[in-house]
């Protein structure tokens, strides 16, 4: 009996990003009448879809203790690829763009896993590199998609049962990846590698493969985001997605994923992405603050959310490290973690 209330609190604590999302959503609904209309909500979701795809990949990268700052550049590069191949049919163009994204992610993986560079520096470098390639191949001008190629605009602009296709894509990706993270061996080894790399190595887990996989996944999802954006805008912009990496990281962190690895859930990331989209939407609906105040306040709100999330996570981690339901795989190693904590390079 005594457990009842704490259990509820624990559940709320585990899903605190969703709690924050509903609080902010309720506030927005009270303050702005148009917020709770289906049209507006779908609009929010559609705007969240691009960052959402980047954030999904970023979640797994961060679970392995990595980071991928190059996603914005990969998005631009694959958007350009999609627009350039649109004449060959939307399917071919999408496949080409996804392959470009996957290849870019693989390059990141080679630099990080094979050459051993720190993910932060490695992806700053590749961010420059992929952006440079996108600008070079386009001659620094956007690639227009011929308006006669109607199928090229399908994925970015049409809807199924009133739901915009980008939103459907986003939800599909989140459902499939959540399932993979929870129920596949590869998904579990991704968590294990981030939780305790030395322990995972001793258990014979394929560390290099898991790490390579997350960067390829991140690149591929950035490629998909590039396809959605190019299809919606009707052109591949070599300068697109300039600061999307930072927004995606903010969303992932607000969703409860730790930079220190091993902990994180896609559902939290989704809440983080929607939260950021709702804040932007609420600023659009109000008519008093100018853009500059909106920028400052968005930053302040993100800062507050991040500080709160970090403070709660620290407080919960201290007394007894509760094992995240999804991070069940590394649990057997947690005893070993103390003995094997990796010495600094």
């Amino acid at each position: 009996m005594k457990h009842r209330i704490p259990l509820v609190l624990h559940w709320l604590g585990d899903n605190r990003a969703w709690v924050a999302l509903f609080v902010v959503g309720a506030l927005a609904a009270i303050l702005f009448a148009p917020f709770l209309t289906p049209n507006n909500l779908l609009n929010v979701m559609r705007q969240a879809s691009i960052i959402g795809l980047l954030a999904a990949g970023m979640t797994f990268v961060m679970i392995t203790r990595g980071i991928d700052l190059s996603v914005g550049s990969i998005l631009a590069l694959s958007g350009v690829a999609y627009a350039s191949f649109a004449h060959a049919g939307a399917l071919v163009a999408t496949l080409v763009a996804l392959c470009v994204g996957a290849a870019a992610g693989f390059i990141n993986a080679v630099i990080i896993v094979r050459l051993g560079l720190d993910p932060f520096v490695a992806t700053i470098a590749s961010m420059f590199g992929f952006r440079g390639i996108a600008l070079l191949v386009t001659g620094e001008t956007p690639v227009r998609i011929d308006s006669a190629l109607t199928d090229a605009f399908f994925i970015g602009r049409s809807s199924i049962f009133g739901i915009p296709l980008p939103v459907v894509v986003l939800l599909l990706v989140f459902v499939v990846l959540s399932w993979c993270a929870r129920y596949t061996r590869t998904g579990r080894s991704v968590y294990a590698v981030g939780g305790n790399e030395a322990g995972s190595q001793m258990m014979g887990l394929p560390i290099a493969r898991a790490k390579t996989l997350v960067y390829v996944l991140s690149g591929t999802l950035a490629g998909l985001a590039g396809v959605l954006l190019a299809s919606r805008l009707g052109s591949g912009q070599p300068t697109a997605g300039d600061t999307y990496d930072l927004t995606a990281i903010a969303a992932v962190v607000i969703g409860g994923t730790l930079l220190s690895g091993g902990v994180g859930r896609l559902s939290g990331t989704l809440a983080g992405v929607l939260l950021i989209a709702i804040i932007a939407n609420a600023f659009n609906l109000q008519g008093q603050l100018n853009t500059w105040w909106q920028n400052a306040l968005t930053g302040a709100i993100l800062l507050a959310l991040i500080v709160a999330q970090a403070a709660i996570t620290q407080a919960r981690a201290r007394p007894s490290r509760r094992v995240n339901s999804l991070a069940a795989a590394p649990a057997p190693f947690s005893g070993m973690a103390a003995q094997l904590s990796t010495p600094k390079k």
Partner: protein, 314 residues
């Protein structure tokens, strides 16, 4: 015999990869670029690299503690914007007040990182967005023209045509070098970077050192912002220092710093900044598009950092 000398040379190159790369770029330029060997090119490199150098010095310190400071570009913008807005009220106090604002925000960064143990990367990411917004709020998003002693100082030349920026760069580098090598504070920075827990257990005042480090980073960025605004004779809250943290971090990494923390390498940072700037100047003087310079930068960062890794392992 021959192989031994070859491996010696290779080791030497690995040890000083940034310096060797600079020599290679200079020699390449002397051959390829017309009018490269002139004092105007030299001063050009010095003037253009001065802002990145100041920012990179600050980032050298934050990285040495195992953290990072992404707010630097926004700090530059905020200092410049506040100064431009306050100059009509009091031209002398304006930059002082602006720098104090930067120091206060730097202290806030440091306190949050040290007390709440928030990852510096994430904290300063949000701070970067907020401070950029504050800079825009300060001028209402407008580009404010600037005049007075900041502009005069930026255009001022020492005897021999030496630009004032060189003076500031040398002073800042010397000061940071002195702090790192000759003060207890510098030793604390290194200790925290090597192992934050050990430093705390040994009773080092980590909760005082980290705010100091982030304040130093904010101050250097603020001075960089003032110099940039002075050189352009305008404060542009949206574009000043935009993405400068990327160049600065790249320079620090090329300079051989361990990104997980540890001994700050001031000399390496200076070489890293110079190398990146030389590449920009080289491509610029040969009319090679900016896109190409981005791609080249990527290869140089990866190559330089990889060489250091190989050296550290052997």
């Amino acid at each position: 015999m021959k192989t031994a000398t070859l491996s010696d040379v290779l080791k030497m190159i690995q040890k000083n990869s940034a310096a060797v790369a600079i020599v290679v770029v200079i020699v390449l330029n002397v051959v390829v670029t017309p009018h490269f060997l002139s004092t105007s090119t030299l001063w050009n490199v010095v003037i253009q690299s001065s802002t990145v150098l100041l920012v990179a010095l600050g980032i050298t310190l934050t990285i040495a503690t195992g953290g990072i400071d992404l707010t630097v570009g926004s700090m530059m913008a905020l200092t410049a914007a506040l100064t431009a807005v306050l100059i009509p009220i009091d031209p002398v106090l304006a930059p002082v007040v602006a720098l104090c604002a930067a120091l206060a925000l730097g202290a806030l960064n440091g306190v949050l990182v040290s007390r709440l143990k928030i990852q510096a990367l994430i904290l300063t990411l949000a701070g970067m967005l907020m401070i950029r917004g504050l800079a825009q709020v300060a001028t209402d998003g407008r580009v404010v023209p600037l005049s007075g002693f900041l502009v005069d100082f930026a255009a001022w030349r020492l005897p021999g045509g030496i630009p004032s920026q060189l003076l500031v760069s040398v002073l800042a580098a010397a000061l940071v070098f002195f702090i790192v090598r000759r003060t207890t504070f510098g030793t604390y920075i290194e200790a925290i970077g090597d192992s934050p827990r050990a430093a705390e257990m040994a009773g080092l005042p980590t909760k005082m050192v980290l705010p100091g480090v982030y304040m130093a980073s904010a101050f250097l960025a603020g001075v960089a912002g003032l110099m940039q605004a002075g050189r352009l004779a305008a404060a542009d809250p949206t574009n000043i220092g935009d993405a400068i943290h990327l160049d600065a971090i790249a320079a620090v990494a090329i300079g051989g710093a361990n990104l997980l923390g540890g001994r700050p390498n001031v000399g390496g940072t200076i070489l890293g900044v110079l190398l990146l700037q030389l590449i920009d100047v080289m491509l610029n003087m040969n009319n090679i598009p900016y896109a190409f310079s981005l791609a080249l930068k990527a290869l140089i960062i990866i190559g330089a950092v990889y060489l250091q890794l190989v050296r550290r392992k052997s």
